[in-house]
């Protein structure tokens, strides 16, 4: 078969797998790389609270009414708040809360959206129509007022005990869940669109011609191929969720004080804005920096995953 044997495969970019190529492209996206560094530093900053609490014995909840609104000092690097609590350690612990809610709510809502999107896209027809009407209905809702209503829902009316309803854990999970409930639609639509296009690709049709069913095709062909847009969408969702959390906590429906979060630290900043403007600036600035870094990271990932951005 000498005449039909193809010559050796050109080895130009042979050894480089797709993920290496993407990482290389991402590294060249300056804003994305800078954001990655900023986010790592922010995470370190928030986690540094753990050794400070345990080793240095700093307590984010320790009030000192004699030391309210203290300016920055050797003892309180960023001063104290209206209850005389150390602002720095509260920012660090509050950051843990905000980031954790961001990641968890994205994971819960994202996975739900992923499942809805894949099923709607793959099966089409009635399943698709039903799921998408549902999603459209969700999108038509006035989100923020609804979040507030959900945040105000009395858990005892749903049959939870009143101790649980008042506990910090309930407050934390409540906000994770309600944000997840309202923020899965974007991912569901995106995944559906990606699934629709991939299921018509020839490699999926070849598998189906060999007798592959949905349980084979979805994990083997669909999910790996929708992975890149999903990663980008998840990243952007984290940013949006952090904003949602801050708004809800700010309005008093999110993380319940005294547990700090960046949002609820701004809770009564409005009244204090003239007396202690710094207390209003720090948490907001941290939210802003975190979310903008997350968004630039998403942009960098998008650039790295786009096959057209060769260079």
């Amino acid at each position: 078969m000498s005449a039909t044997t193809a010559t050796a495969v050109p080895r130009t970019e042979a050894a480089i797998g797709p993920w290496r190529l993407r990482w290389r492209r991402f590294r060249r996206h300056r804003a994305g790389m800078a954001s990655l560094v900023v986010l790592l530093l922010l995470a370190l900053f928030c986690l540094a609270a753990i050794p400070m609490q345990h080793v240095l014995g700093m307590d984010p909840d320790a009030t000192d009414l004699l030391a309210r609104f203290d300016p920055p000092s050797a003892e309180h690097w960023l001063g104290t708040d209206e209850a005389g609590r150390d602002e720095l350690i509260r920012l660090m612990v509050g950051g843990q809360m905000s980031l954790l809610v961001g990641l968890l709510a994205t994971a819960v809502g994202g996975i739900f959206g992923l499942v809805v999107g894949v099923f709607a896209g793959y099966f089409g027809g009635r399943v698709d129509a039903l799921l998408m009407r549902f999603t459209d209905g969700m999108i038509a809702l006035p989100l923020l007022p609804l979040l507030i209503v959900l945040g105000a829902v009395d858990l005892t009316k749903l049959g939870f005990s009143s101790e649980f309803a008042r506990s910090g854990a309930a407050g934390f999970w409540r906000i994770v869940i309600i944000i997840a409930i309202v923020d899965w639609t974007a991912i569901a639509r995106l995944v559906r669109a990606a699934t629709l296009s991939i299921k018509e690709r020839d490699f999926v049709r070849a598998a189906r011609a060999s007798g592959a069913g949905p349980l084979y095709v979805m994990p083997t062909h669909i999910l790996p191929n929708v992975a890149t847009p999903i990663i980008v969408a998840f990243t952007l969702t984290v940013g949006r969720v952090i904003l949602f959390e801050s708004v809800l906590s700010f309005l008093g429906f999110g993380i319940v004080p005294p547990t700090p979060s960046w949002g609820n630290m701004l809770n009564n900043a409005q009244e204090l804005v003239t007396t202690a403007p710094a207390l209003a600036v720090y948490p907001g600035l941290l939210i802003f920096v975190t979310v903008i870094a997350v968004n630039f990271l998403g942009d960098g990932l998008q650039h790295a995953f786009d096959p057209r951005s060769e260079r």
Binding site: G137, L146, S246, F250
Partner: protein, 317 residues
């Protein structure tokens, strides 16, 4: 076309019906019930009286039945009384709706115009310096917490610089056009900035996409000048997805309006709903939420119609 609009309106009404039930049930899950407040002002009420009132207001009935009774009234325009305002719900809601629409429409138009200018400029040379600056601005707009931005603006422009009033829609005793306009500046900027960021990103992405297309090369091959290629051939195509997203986002603007109105003490829908929820004013909160849903559904419908109108390839049937 008429058939299409009819069908879409029917669909929207169906969604509205389902949503009214969802919202009705959710409101019922908020702490306290209508009687608590009534009783708070009358601590001497005996359990018999409470039971009697419960029956009178139908609160002993199952949820579905109460909902149906509410729906029956709502369909003829009876949304009940606002407890906190002691007025019929609609007479509280309508002025607030007008106020909010004013704020939303001005902000929307401002952000659309700004987004088109910035988005097109950024798309002309992706990766260039101008693109970088505009992207930074756009991402800042998307990423800034609206309430914090409002706070900072109050701090800088009202408290420190005294350029603009910090709250309200008019100064008592003045209320002239200039005074009202000054009161609108900060709310509009706050509200517009958030959506401008998102819109700019969409315009930029859409323009870059279109500028890569074959027909843009054809336009150049005809000898058209670059401004003509961008503004006539590319822009019209880029407009199609962007306008859809913008129309859809009009409803989303409501979220920002709630915060902006709360921060700047503007008597609009957002603040009204917020206060109603805080004050257990069930009828007002429920009706307000429903009207907000209607606004979103309407903007969805407009988005679809705009799509069909802009894109000759889409036949709305």
């Amino acid at each position: 076309m008429t058939r299409y609009i009819l069908r879409r309106i029917l669909q929207a009404l169906l969604v509205l019906l389902v949503m009214s039930f969802v919202i009705y049930s959710l409101i019922g899950l908020m702490p306290g019930d209508p009687l608590d407040i009534m009783l708070a002002s009358n601590p001497g009420a005996t359990p018999e009286v409470v039971e009697h009132l419960r029956k009178l207001y139908g609160l002993d009935q199952p949820l579905m039945l109460r909902y149906l009774r509410w729906l029956q009234d709502a369909l003829v325009g009876q949304f009940g009384y606002s407890r906190t305002h002691s007025l019929p719900v609609l007479s509280v809601l309508v002025p607030a709706l007008i106020q909010t629409c004013k704020l939303m429409i001005i902000s929307f138009i401002a952000s659309v115009i700004l987004a088109f200018i910035l988005g097109i400029l950024a798309a002309l040379k992706p990766g260039g310096i101008l693109d970088g600056v505009i992207s930074l601005f756009a991402f800042a707009g998307i990423s800034v917490p609206v309430f914090w931005l409002a706070l900072m603006m109050i701090l800088v422009f009202a408290v420190k610089l005294h350029w603009f009033p910090a709250s309200g829609i008019a100064t008592v005793g003045d209320g002239g056009f200039r005074d009202q306009a000054l009161h609108l500046v900060m709310p509009v900027i706050t509200l517009a900035l958030a959506s401008t960021g998102g819109f700019t990103r969409y315009v930029r992405a859409s323009m870059i996409e279109v500028l890569r297309m074959d027909h843009v090369r054809t336009a150049r091959a005809k000898g058209a000048a670059e401004w003509r290629v961008v503004l006539v051939h590319a822009f019209r195509n880029a407009l199609i997805p962007v306008v859809t997203i913008m129309a859809l986002s009009f409803g989303v603007l409501f979220n920002g309006a709630l915060l902006t109105e709360t921060m700047f003490a503007q008597p609009g829908m957002g603040k009204m709903i917020y206060d109603a929820i805080l004050g257990n004013d069930f009828n007002l909160a429920l009706t307000g939420l429903l009207f907000a849903t209607v606004v979103t559904l309407l903007s969805n419908l407009v988005a679809d119609l705009a799509y069909g109108w802009l894109d000759p390839r889409i036949a709305l049937t």
